[in-house]
């Protein structure tokens, strides 16, 4: 099992691979990828009971990425975990490739085609409900963007998850506070998300979603309350790990130029050296 230090190093490695990938294909949701990468790191390296060998098992844990636009971050982690050869990612966004800007089931390890926002929680709820019906002990995790919570379908799904007492369902909100237009609170106020989800019947924990230790401690304890779906409100920074990208809305889907790429990689090299 990876230690907290191992996970921190992984996060830096993943960020390097992510930027190489986005730079290589010339597109990607860089800011959101960087904000959720620590969450994906902790999920796949510490929490999820799924592997390339078990990813078709009916007893596996499921992961549904509702914020599908951050597919690049998911692909980097799945490649590292051996769900497919890393060289496959060279085809990202190329003609005929399964590796495109949103996850599809053509990619080994991806459970559901996503991309349109507000879909993941309902699908995850359905899988969790089937697990309860069949008395299976798998868990279902789904990652939601904060901006996507303006989609009403999330709240339909939230009501149902609480109604059916789906304590095998864990929703994680990547609360980076920014969407393409700007601050989520300026676009259409989302706060207080913790109180909203509590009112909808979830057991909520807040944590720093860019701190692997805090994420492990939160996710290791799900369900937070028996009989209730869990929600992790993971406070993150969009563009996390690259100083000039952090908390800047233009990096929502910005691609670094040569100079920005060099500066970003230098920052990550320095972060890696500091962790060595």
């Amino acid at each position: 099992m990876l230690t907290e230090s191992d996970l921190q190093r992984k996060s830096v490695q993943y960020r390097k691979e992510l930027l190489r990938l986005i730079k290589g294909c010339g597109s990607g949701h860089t800011g959101g990828d960087l904000s959720c990468l620590d969450i994906l790191n902790v999920l796949y390296n510490r929490i999820l009971r799924v592997s390339p060998e078990t990813c078709k098992s009916p007893d596996r844990d499921y992961y549904i990425q509702s914020k599908g636009h951050c597919a690049e971050a998911l692909f980097v982690v799945l490649a590292d975990k051996g769900f497919f050869p890393k060289k496959d990612l060279e085809t990202l966004n190329r003609y005929g490739s399964h590796y495109i800007g949103h996850p599809t089931r053509g990619v080994n390890g991806v459970e559901q085609n996503t991309g349109a926002l507000g879909h993941g929680l309902a699908v995850a709820g359905g899988i969790a409900l089937a697990g309860k019906m069949d008395r299976k002990d798998y868990r279902v995790f789904t990652l939601l963007g904060d901006g996507e919570l303006a989609e009403g379908s999330n709240w339909e799904a939230a009501m149902m998850a609480a109604h059916y007492r789906l304590d095998n369902l864990v929703a994680i909100v990547d609360r980076n506070g920014l969407q393409i237009t700007g601050s989520t609170e300026d676009v259409c106020q989302l706060a207080p998300l913790d109180e909203k989800f509590e009112a909808f019947g979830f057991a909520v924990q807040r944590c720093n979603g860019n701190d692997v230790g805090e994420l492990v401690r939160a996710l290791d304890t799900v369900p937070f309350r028996p009989g209730k779906p869990s929600l992790v409100l993971a406070k993150t920074r969009k563009g996390k790990g690259i100083s000039f990208m952090e908390n800047v809305a233009k990096w929502h889907h910005g691609v670094p130029n040569d100079d920005e790429f060099s500066r970003a990689m230098a920052e990550l090299e320095a972060a890696e050296a500091a962790l060595a």
Partner: protein, 313 residues
Amino acid sequence: MEIAKANLEVFAATLLELARQDSDLLVVTSDSRGSAKLASFAKAAPGQIVEVGIAEQNLVGVAAGLAAAGKNVFAVSPACFLTARSLEQIKNDLCYSDRPVTAVGISSGVSYGALGTTHHSLHDYAVLRAIHNIVIVAPADNFETREAVQAAARSTKPVYLRFGKKPMPHLPRVDSGFELGKASLIREGIDLTFLACGETVAPAYEAAELLAREGIHCRVLSVHTIKPLDQAAIWQAATETGRLITVEEHSVNGGLGEACASLLLQEGIPCRFKIVGFPDDHTVTGNQEEIFRHYGIDGTRLAMTARQLSEKQ
């Protein structure tokens, strides 16, 4: 013709039979079990019905999730809501993600009559025809309903089943079998063919009976599967009878008629051709029968349309 049950009742009864044989079969409803005639199902198989409340988007999303975990799911809601409000879930969560859920649109077309356009579904064939990976089925009578439900339960891809709610007559049929994607021959004829689907097959048959008394012999095909279309049966009807009238409880835009027209034009098969359906206009008010009559979808008026098409040079 002997009037039997509403197709919806046969759907519910068939589903219960299937549920008794397959504990993984689930029906998901959005406060729609009463209108879907599923109250007895809920009583007989309470562990196999999932209620999500009035939340059609969630209905389809949850159905996709249940199917992802191996369940054989029928997601049931009024057709007007199912194919509009949750269209994106049908497109992405079912069709794009390849989840073989059966989406069941109940009280379809103008079944809700005077409840008005909010409750009518005259768009569903059009929008679903443009989405890849879904079979679209509108059974004509109780026999086709039972067969279609059974076929949908076996399907390895998403299916859309569309049912009205009025009692339907037992249609005589030349073919005894039923196969998705293969039109059913209801009546043989050489002068003209009615290509109809769902609850419009019965009035097309009535028209054919009226015309037979005048020596005009019409073929009637129940094109229960709007997609994939039975191309061979339509080619054959066009070449053998030379006159086609399509009849549907749907907008004339994007439905069965335009699907047939596109096929014939692209294949270069000449024939006289008329689409009977709902024009691009606000729908007239009234009950289903009155609305049908207004738009020429009854035996008398369809016979009139057939005479006009037969006379036209």
